[in-house]
């Protein structure tokens, strides 16, 4: 199969998933117990106001009609309007998206920077003390609640140790962002690094036993070059795809971390919207996040197919 055909096939496979995602997001409102309009507006709301909202959201129509209307709006890029800010929910979320993308990207880079050296140490000292120490990291690391790690980092680096980093906010300019977002990104990285370390170590061990590494060694290449030029280059490809597969966990982590560090991103918008019972925003953010995850899956698959042609013949 050519790469083009592979991409087309992957895109076609996305259609039913996209449909399913919109159905789930649509049904969120029907999970609200009782009358959603009444629950969302609260007990103080007058009956006409509730009836108006019910009509506005089409809750008085049959389900298929409601879904068709919902889809019609989404296709036109209209994700509903916020009950609180009186503007488009999609607009509000997209406005804050760059901040969250910064956090995700920075966190992903830091997680690779943490995982690669540790996994390399583990694989080269297989079954010796350094390896045992490295293997403890994923075991213990996955149990750290990301928001709590954020609080502890804040405590240590933000409040003590010379107040190296700001305790919240987003900063301005490239280096401002880099400085202000370091602790939040580190928190996000800590959450995902254990998974990366585990898989990178495993794939490094596999590569180190392969024929071409043996060949490289028998040619008399120094071990350092074998490791960096031959083994690591191959293992990193698989690490990046593991990162892609776990993007959902990474993205979900940012929601909570933004709350800890008061970063004005999409996650914070979602949490605030929850306390204001601003349903359209919660729906819009959930939809945007899942679109993001699906796109990353797609990109990961395509990059993987580019780098490893065997994937296309699967």
């Amino acid at each position: 199969m050519s790469l083009g055909a592979y991409v087309v096939r992957r895109l076609l496979a996305l259609i039913p998933i996209a449909l399913g995602v919109t159905i789930l997001v649509f049904f969120l409102i029907h999970l609200v117990p009782g009358d959603p309009a009444r629950t969302i507006l609260g007990n103080q709301a007058t009956a006409p106001r509730v009836a108006l909202l019910r009509h506005e959201w089409g809750l008085d129509r049959p389900l298929p009609v409601q879904y068709a209307k919902f889809m019609g709006r989404i296709v036109r890029g209209d994700l509903g309007s916020s009950l609180f800010y009186n503007t488009g929910a999609g607009h509000l979320a997209l406005e804050r998206l760059p901040v969250t993308l910064w956090l995700i990207g920075f966190g992903a880079v830091l997680s690779v920077l943490i995982a690669v050296p540790l996994a390399t140490i583990g694989a080269t000292y297989r079954d010796r003390i350094p390896d045992h120490l490295v293997r403890v990291v994923p075991l213990a690391g996955l149990g750290f609640p990301p928001f709590w790690v954020g609080i502890v980092l804040l405590l240590v680096f933000g409040l003590h140790l010379g107040r190296l980093f700001p305790v919240g906010g987003y900063g301005s300019g490239f280096f401002g962002h880099l400085h202000a977002m370091f602790l939040p990104a580190l928190t996000v990285a800590f959450a995902i690094a254990p998974i990366l370390i585990r898989s990178l170590r495993a794939s490094l061990l596999e590569v180190l036993e392969s024929d071409y590494v043996t060949t490289a060694r028998s040619k008399g290449l120094p071990e350092r070059r074998v490791l960096v030029n031959h083994a690591l280059r191959n293992a990193i490809v698989s690490t990046v795809s593991v990162l892609g597969v776990n993007i959902g966990y990474l993205v979900g982590g940012t929601v909570v971390v933004e709350q800890v560090y008061a970063i004005p991103g999409v996650g914070q918008l979602m949490i605030n919207a929850i306390f204001q019972r601003d349903f359209p925003i919660v729906q819009a953010v959930t939809l945007i996040f899942s679109v993001m995850v699906v796109l990353v899956y797609l990109i990961t698959d395509i990059v993987h197919a580019l780098l490893d042609p065997r994937v296309r013949f699967d």
Binding site: P16, I17, G20, V21, I23, L24, L28, I29, L31, V32, P33, L139, A140, L142, G143, F144, P145, P146, F147, W148, I151, V152, L154, L155, L159, I247, G248, Y249, L250, V251, G252, G253, V255, V256, Q259, M270, I271, I274, F275, V282, Q283, V285, T286, F289, S290, V293, V294, Y297
Partner: protein
Amino acid sequence: MAIAAEAVAEATFVEHSRGFRSRWYRTPSFVTGVSILGLIVLAAILAPVIAMHNPTDQDLLHTLAGPSWSHLLGTDDLGRDVWARLVYGARTDLQIAFLAVLFPFAIGTTIGLLSGYYGRWVDTIANWFVNVVVAFPFYVLIIALVFALGSGTRNIYIAITIVGWVSYTRIVRGEVLVAKRRDYVLAARSAGLSDPRILGRHLLPNVITQAIVFACSDIVLDILAIVTLGYLGLGVQRPRPDWGTMIADGQTYLTTHWMLSTIPGIAVVITALGLSLLADGLADLLRPE
């Protein structure tokens, strides 16, 4: 023939458990994991005995006190005993986490078993559901679901089940695809055993070990989710003690009383470590030699 087929399946199962019985104490991660978890579960069960204070009793004359003989870990901003809240929090969070893992485990395993065994349209539909759920970031979907359903324990179970079953389905489906080509299943089939019997008596015992191992690490994820929901104010409702709300309440006093937020977090980390070690040891033990 049918009996012979049953015997093969029986033998593989017995082999596992015999290996398990003679080797469990020689697997350090398993022993450590069981010990850590055992201590925490014991503390949770004995909470009324070892807490010494009521976790919700306020003492507004002794707020934010440091550790002392009467309050081992001090008191919080409402003068409640931190140690008492910690052990009662263990009770709350462990109970919810252990129960929450059961539903996704049962539902996911069943769907995985059916989709792997029958294939075709059953598999197509199951896969579609799996892919749709996986398209959502874990925390985002859980938070959105709990928001829609309303906070409270019952809705935490529902949200975790909707998000959590997919992993079990993926694992069990993969195992079934391999197992159904093995001799014992082919033998059972050609002997004319009914599908429910093959699924329940022969396939299930052989594929469930992987699901059990995963369940141990899945509880870790559930505890994190419960604590995170508590922290965000969407999970366990005050005044019921929960580690997540304890961390959130302590955050206000981070500059002056850093212990209030740190201690419940350490409890989460230690519990999770116990479960991870247990899962790691189980995986080692249940791996057929």
